[in-house]
Amino acid sequence: MSKEHTHSDSLQYPDLAHLPSDPALRMKAMESLLVEKGLVKPETIDAYIEKFEHEIGPHNGARVVARAWVDAAFRERLLRNATGAVRELGFIGSQTTDVVAIENTPDVHNLVVCTLCSCYPWTLLGLPPSWYKSYAYRSRVVREPREVLKEFGVELGEDVEVRVWDSTAEVRYLVVPERPAGTEEMSEEALAAVVTRDSMIGAAKLEV
């Protein structure tokens, strides 16, 4: 590759307006071109979809949270050095190399966003939902988090401190939601089933 093409300043933005307006057709044309040119293998695409849609996901993050709820020493390690604690469970990975865990309490509510793109802890929570990637969420949540939370059904008192975490680096934030009342007798495994994706972003509170 010649030198002048190694800088993003030279990125080409050709007029692609005449390509099909249907993104499904644009995708098909691109996939078929890249397969023909030997730039991608269809079975590799299949493997990415399978592994990132099903192997990883909020069930991983839920295991971290449930462990923190039942194991005080683990919770301590998680809050002090989440990268190490998450590594103990084997969940460090793609888009999840450096982790900070932040705990929701009756006094502090944490909420995570990426205003500049849509950074998200893939191996802990899977790929992000559309609302997390929406312009409305990215633009509003740093400015009016309480209004956004109210729309999500989370009403916070004036006395609660709201902390919004904008993921501007390769550090990923995992919210440890409050353990709901009535779960005192539940096993770690049963607790993990109670923890939702949205609660680990800070967009929901948990109930049983």
């Binding site: 890249l34 190399t97 790929l127 975490w165 550090v171």
Partner: protein, 217 residues
């Protein structure tokens, strides 16, 4: 760059389209775009930060009218065009140019591992300039290129909340001008300092800022 991607604090985008227990993909083509973007061969220049910047460089009207996965597909297309791995004619036709020899080095499915990862932290000799609790002012750069310091958080006074060691600097790495690893901090800013009297006095915004964008305050 002061682009439309830097949307923190902007007005006018309406209600968040919140969907409880939303699926990862809504359409089969989104699934395929995602796999295609992950599994394709890229030019050497296309590191993680370059990839983010390639989306930021989209014309703003297109950025706003495209959905998330359409932006990814556009970024893949322009990156492969820029790296001369495909030509515009081939993209338009959806077919390889006659006589072009296919490559034989595309990644196979056995390479796919969600837990594989590149580290972004680096060991450097220089110690951190700041410690947790220090009052700092964020910089006020407006570079035409890539930066991860959003407009809403520029030239603001807050304090160091966490220190993450040294990390690769996207501002240079996106442009293939070196990793320039430097200390990275989470900085806490008061919501009222950012947004004025309508914000709660209690609320705070935390974001990660590299040392080159911080000074003592």
């Amino acid at each position: 760059m002061d682009g439309v991607h830097d949307m923190g604090g902007m007005h006018g985008f309406g209600k968040v389209p919140y969907e409880k227990d939303e699926p990862t993909f809504h359409h089969e083509w989104e699934r395929r775009v995602w796999g295609l973007c992950q599994g394709s061969t890229y030019p050497d220049c296309a590191n993680l930060d370059y990839g983010r910047h390639s989306i930021e460089l989209m014309p703003p009207d297109l950025y706003l009218s495209y959905s998330y996965f359409e932006r990814w597909l556009y970024s893949l297309t322009t990156t492969l065009l820029s790296g001369e791995l495909v030509t515009l004619e081939e993209v338009q036709d959806g077919k390889a140019a006659p006589g072009s020899a296919p490559r034989t080095d595309a990644a196979g499915p056995e390479t796919v591992d969600p837990y594989a990862h590149d580290e972004h932290r680096r060991e450097i000799d220089a110690g951190p300039l700041f410690k947790v609790g220090d009052r700092v002012r964020t910089g006020n750069p407006h570079p035409p290129g890539h930066t991860r310091l959003p407009r809403y958080a520029r030239d603001k006074v807050g304090h160091i909340h966490l220190h993450h060691g040294a990390h690769v600097l996207p501002d240079t790495n996106a442009h293939n001008k070196g990793e320039s690893p430097m200390h990275l901090y989470t900085v806490a800013l008061s919501a009222r300092d950012l947004w004025g009297p309508d914000a709660s006095v209690k609320d705070k915004i935390f974001l990660d800022v590299w040392e080159c964008h911080l000074e003592s305050a």
